[in-house]
Structures are given as C-alpha cells and as structure tokens.
C-alpha cells in the first residue's frame, strides 16, 4: 500500500508537471464556460421582441384587454385602431411583428375573433393571444344577464382530478408546494460531471499503462514494487488527477453559474443525495479504471489497438447511448435493466436518480451491490492481465492470450 501511494504520488506529480495535462486541465472548464457564454449570446438574440398589437374595438372593452396584457406581462405594445378589416392589407404586407384584432358584436356572438398578423411575428404571439380568451369569455357571459353564482359555475368549467393509488394513501401528507426542478437537477449534474471527468482522466490510465510498456520502464519499476502495487498506484493516482480536474472545473463553473442563474445552487448541492450520487460516480470510475489499466497493459500503443481493445474503450460511453430511453421513462424496463449492468449502471443510475421523484431504494441497493462485486472482479482480472501484459514487449495481446492469462 505504501508503494502504491508512492506510485500514485509520482503519477500525479508527473502529470501536473506535464504541460499538455495542465493546459487540458484549464481548457476543459474554459470550453464549458465558453459554450455556456456562446449559448447565452444566441439566447439574447432570441429574446422576444415587442409585438405591436392594434385592436379595432367596437365593444369598448379595450381597457380590460390592456389590463390583461399588463397582468400577464406580455411583450406587447397595444394600440387602438380605427382601420377596418379590409383596409389593413397594406399595413400587414409592409409591417413587421404586428397584429390586428377585431372585436365586434358578430365575432363575440360566434366566439371566433379574427386576428391578422404580419408574415413575421413573434413565435410566442399565438400562445399569448389565447390569454385574452378568458376575459372575453367573461364579457360574453356577462351579456347573458345571469346571477353571480351562475356566472361562477359557468366560468369555472369542468376539470378531472387524478389520484393514483399511491397518492391516495399518501394524500394526507401530500404537499402542494411545487419543487423547483433545479433542486433535483443540481446534485445529479454534479455527480454526472464528476463521473465524466474522472472517467476521462481514467482513460489516461490506459495511456499511462501502455506508455510504460512503450518506454520499457515497467521492468525497472517492477524491480521495486509488485505488479499489483503498480496497478493500484496508477488507479489511485489517476483518481486524484480526476478529482483535481473536477475541482478546477467547479472553481471556474460554480461562481459563473451562481452569478448567471438566479437560484441558490450551492444550497441545492449540499444535500445528502449528493453523497450517494458521488459514491456511484466514484464506483463507476473504479470499474472503468480497472478495465482501462488491464487493457492498457495489453497493448503497445493506441494506434495499433485491435478491435477488441477499441470496443472496450467505448464501454463508458454506453450510458450516453441510453440517455434518450432512460430520461424518457426513468422507471421503464430499459432503465431498470441498465441499472443492473455494471458498465452502464453508474451513468444510468445518476440519470434516473436525477429525474425520479421517489428513489427506488431496493433497486439502488442491488445496483450498487452488483457494481461493487463487478469492481472487485474486474480489479482481480485486471491484476492478472496487467502482470503478464505489462512485460510483453513489441506486440499487442490477442483476446485469446488475454483469456489465457485470466485463467492461469
């Protein structure tokens, strides 16, 4: 263990002194911020422009409409107009982002109100205009000379209230306070970033193991430590490097996020759920690190890797392929099965737990147990492969050979 720590320390030091690693370390958060900033640039382009709305009001309810517009904070500039329906042709052809609404007895009776817009109109206009339907409906009802009670009944409409069996039991303690979606999202995102960063750094283990072979230094190191110590040292070392990457990332991104997003992000982050999510991310790292270090020891360099090694390298990205189905149905069969497959379980679990309201504790426990068992198994296998592979110079191991080492 002491020797493993020495190796870990060395790997950390060596990488931190390596210019390309340091550049990468700071470039990653800068890129992320860069894209975030670019995104907000495009966003500001999309900012809804004020739509000029002319109302030809023959019912004298313009003031009420203006009030509604103010109430919903619509990006409208509302005016009254005397132009008739057949006189606006010109205005519409030459205007931009302009709409005409005609309110008259006839349209009120039919319940269909003609609205004319220019070709170019803000995309939110057609939804915004619907907001006027309600007050207009009130006006129509008021014309029927009903009592206030009758008015209330009519205007309230009919809705269905759904209660599932589970909610039915829990109805007593049901809280009506709507949770902020960010509150759930932040710990999940955090764990996802950790998983991603340390798995990416973990891929450097693979490089480091094959580099050791290429530089032919393995034998010297192994004259001082056992292969197992060397392997563990590498796994620990690159784990710390991954964490350093995460810390640098957070140092850059969190202040940015806090100033940009108007939510108490830090508060959302400091919840017990974060711990479990981070634990899953760390387990995911250990699994992939074991696989990478073993495979890295079987090949002389990246460019000569066979299909087999290439496939293994793609394993961590398997969970990305499942983003769609898992987020679409976080309790669905795909999500459940993927939680039990060790290669996909870290990513999928983090996704599911981020989205799911109620955490399926039994499933989590089984998935984590499966993950831990497979980590132990893969560590053992990697140890066997590493021991033979790291000293095999000049050629890549075939899957057949690797299988033989595992069995020996």
């Amino acid at each position: 263990m002491r020797n493993s720590m020495k190796i870990a320390k060395w790997e950390i030091k060596r990488n931190l002194k390596n210019k390309s690693f340091v550049i990468g370390l700071f470039l990653t958060p800068l890129l992320i911020l860069g894209f975030g900033f670019l995104g907000s640039l495009f966003d500001s382009d999309d900012e809804p422009e004020e739509t000029t709305v002319f109302v030809n009001d023959q019912l004298e309810i313009y003031d009420m409409l203006a009030e509604t517009v103010a109430q919903y904070d619509l990006e409208w500039e509302i005016h009254q107009t005397k132009l008739a329906e057949d006189a606006i042709q010109d205005e519409l052809e030459n205007g931009e982002n302009t709409a005409y609404i005609f309110l008259n007895e006839e349209s009120m009776e039919n319940g269909v109100i003609p609205v004319y817009t220019t070709d170019e109109i803000d995309s939110s206009f057609s939804t915004s205009v619907q907001l006027l339907a309600n007050p207009l409906q009130q006006v129509r009802i008021a014309q029927l000379n009903l009592t206030d009670e009758e008015i209330a009944i009519i205007s309230s409409g009919v809705v269905f209230e759904e209660t599932s069996a589970e909610d039915y039991h829990a109805s007593g303690e049901q809280s009506t306070i709507e949770e902020n979606p960010l509150e759930k999202l932040v710990p999940g995102l955090f764990a996802g970033v950790i998983l991603f960063a340390i798995v990416i750094t973990g891929m450097m283990i693979f490089q480091s193991a094959s580099q050791e072979k290429k530089d032919k230094i393995a034998e010297i190191i192994l004259s001082s430590v056992t292969p197992g110590e060397l392997m563990n040292g590498k796994i620990i070392g690159y784990f710390v490097l991954g964490i350093i990457q995460v810390v640098v990332l957070l140092v850059f991104v969190i202040p940015f996020a806090v100033t940009k997003i108007d939510e108490p992000i830090i508060e959302y982050l400091l919840v017990p759920e974060t711990l479990l999510l981070v634990l899953i991310a760390v387990l995911g790292y250990l699994l992939f690190a074991a696989i990478f270090v073993g495979i890295g020891a079987t090949m002389a360099d990246m460019s000569t890797s066979g299909n087999f090694q290439g496939l293994v390298m793609m394993l961590p990205f398997l969970s990305f392929a499942l983003i769609g189905p898992v987020l679409g149905d976080p309790s669905g069969i795909i999500a459940k099965v993927a939680s039990y497959i060790p290669f996909t379980s870290p990513g999928v679990l983090i996704m599911r737990l981020t989205v799911l309201e109620e955490w399926p504790w039994v499933e989590i426990a089984i998935a984590v147990a499966v993950l831990i068992v497979s980590i132990l198994l893969f560590m053992k296998l990697a140890g066997k492969i590493f021991k033979v592979g790291i000293l095999m110079y000049g050629k890549n191991a075939t899957p057949g050979e690797i299988w033989k080492w595992i069995r020996s």
Binding site: N3, K6, I7, Q211, D215, E219, I220, L222, S224
Partner: protein, 310 residues
C-alpha cells in the same frame, strides 16, 4: 566468501518450449559473477525469475541475509535488458522516484545523484528532460538508478550493450569498484572481451542449460587449451598427423590446430615436421570469445575438451 544469492535447479517453460532446464549457481558478496550465453540462451529469463518478474515452474531462489519469502527488493539493484525511462520527466525527478521506491532517503539520494552524474559526465543535466538525452546518456541515467540505493546485490542485464568504448570503460570501472566495496554483482553479457577482463566467476548457458560454471581461471585452464594458427599452404592430412592435435580447421591459407590439454607448447613446437609451409605461426590459448562462438554455433569443441578432461 559470503553467499548472497543461491539459484537452485531453476526450470521454466514458455508454451511447449523449455527455456530453463535446471539452472543452478550462486552469487557471492564482493564478486562479479557473469552469466554468458548467446541470444535466446535463457540469460534474461534467469534474471527475471530472480527478480520475481516471472515465476519459475520449479526450483528455488534464495536471498541470504534476508528473512521471509519475499524478494528483498530494496536491497537489489536491477538494470533490465529492455532499456527505457519515462520520456517527459527530468533526470533528477526520475532518479529520486526510483530511489524513493527503494525506500532510500531522499536527501541522501540527491547527493548521490549529483555525485554520479558528475562521475558519468552528465554534470548539469539533472534538470534536463529524459527525451533530450542521447541513448547512451539515458543508459547512464538508468545505471545510476540501479545503483543509487547502495544495493547489496546488483543485477545487470547486458549493461554494456549500446555503449561507446569510453562509456564501457566507465561502467566497467564503476562495477569493479562496487564489487570491491562488497556488492555482489550478477551480470549478463555476450561481450566476451569485457567479461573476461572483469568477472571473477562465470556461468555459461546454452539452450537453457549450464555449459560451463566456475572461476575465470578454472574455466581458462580447463577449457582454454592452446591452439596454433599457421598461415601457409599445407595438406590437411599432414597437419592432422601432427601429435597432440585434436582438431584442424582450415580457412583459405590459414589453418588452426586445436591442441590437447596436456600439451607443452615448446616441446610441441619442436615436434612440427619440417615439411610444413609456415608463412606465419601463432600459438595462444583459446579465448572465452572462441569458446562462446563455439557454443553459439553448436560445435562440440567444449564437449570434446570437457570429455578429454573428464
């Protein structure tokens, strides 16, 4: 002399090929013991088994002066045959790391690194990155790495390969002086002239088997018989008829007569018939180099010499 390492009846197979067929020898304190043999004879395999980088199928390796089953890695210095160091690190950093892995105190290591860099003509290179060094310089750095922690047993696999004569001389001197200070040294090589100059005892190996084992003097008197080289056109049968001649080898106009062990050079010279055409005549002992070539090319000179001595 105190025995530091005993290798007993080592056997190792790769697939169906037997690489080591019962190798036994020992290395003593303060001596230079050489493992000689052609490429593929099993030298590096033997050494890797000693270092615990491979495990023998049978046989035992015992480190004296050390309790417990584990290899006392901290007390061994090892220069492998496959040379290499991390590319993009500084000379000082990697040497300190290697010393640290051996549990050698860092401040003392630093002192010794500077001392050795100076000795090996690398003064001021401690901050240079490994990839900027020439191959020979890299090899020197590696050698320093293997002796930095004052090992009790030093194992050098082909230490001279790829070195220029000046550096070879430097290495030779340093290895000799380490042995004089009491380090047990096991080195493998196929450069006979160097080995002949410096080793105390040798173990010659061919096809994973012992061929010769003994002190340099023993080996020389036992195996290195006299041979007589004659330049001039002669009839092969005439030469073979000369007494005490074991074997005759002819190449162009030069003939080599391999003589019996018991030969007395002066009286043998007198017995040469007058009819022989001599342009040039040379009489000397068979060198280690020739013994080695014989083994490597599978002639049975040694066998004969050995048998006639048996």
């Amino acid at each position: 002399m105190e025995v530091m390492l005993t290798v007993d009846n080592l056997e190792k197979s790769f697939k169906d090929k037997k690489a080591l067929k019962g190798i036994s020898f020992e290395v003593r304190k303060g001596e230079i013991m050489a493992i000689l043999g052609p490429n593929g004879a099993g030298k590096s395999t033997t050494i890797r088994n000693i270092m615990g980088i491979m495990y023998p199928d049978s046989g035992s390796i015992k480190f004296h002066n050390h309790q417990g089953k584990e290899i006392p890695r901290n007390k061994i210095g090892y220069l492998p045959e496959e040379r290499g160091l991390y590319k993009n690190v500084k000379v000082m950093d990697i040497l300190l790391y290697l010393a640290d892995l051996k549990d050698y105190p860092q401040d003392k290591a630093k002192e010794r690194i500077l001392m050795y860099l100076k000795k090996f003509d690398l003064e001021g290179k401690e901050k240079v990155s490994i990839e900027e060094l020439s191959k020979g310089m890299g090899q020197k750095v590696q050698f320093i790495g293997s002796i930095l922690h004052e090992p009790e047993l030093l194992i050098l696999d082909e230490p001279f390969s790829g070195l220029d004569p000046v550096s070879q001389e430097l290495f030779k001197e340093e290895i000799r002086s380490l042995a004089d200070k009491g380090t047990a040294i096991l080195l493998s090589s196929h450069q006979m002239n160097l080995v002949e100059e410096m080793c105390d005892r040798l173990f010659m190996i061919q096809n994973g088997q012992k061929v010769i084992y003994g002190t340099l003097d023993e080996v020389k008197t036992k195996y290195a018989n006299f041979k007589c080289t004659i330049r001039g056109k002669n009839n092969l049968a005439d030469l073979e008829a000369i007494p005490m001649v074991q074997r005759v080898e002819e190449k162009d106009e030069t003939t080599v007569l391999y003589l019996d062990q018991a030969v007395n050079p002066t009286s043998w010279l007198k017995s040469l018939p007058d009819s022989i055409n001599v342009q040039e005549l040379k009489i000397n002992r068979i060198s280690l180099h020739e013994i080695f070539i014989d083994i490597a090319t599978n002639k049975n000179l040694i066998q004969e010499a050995g048998d006639s001595n048996a």
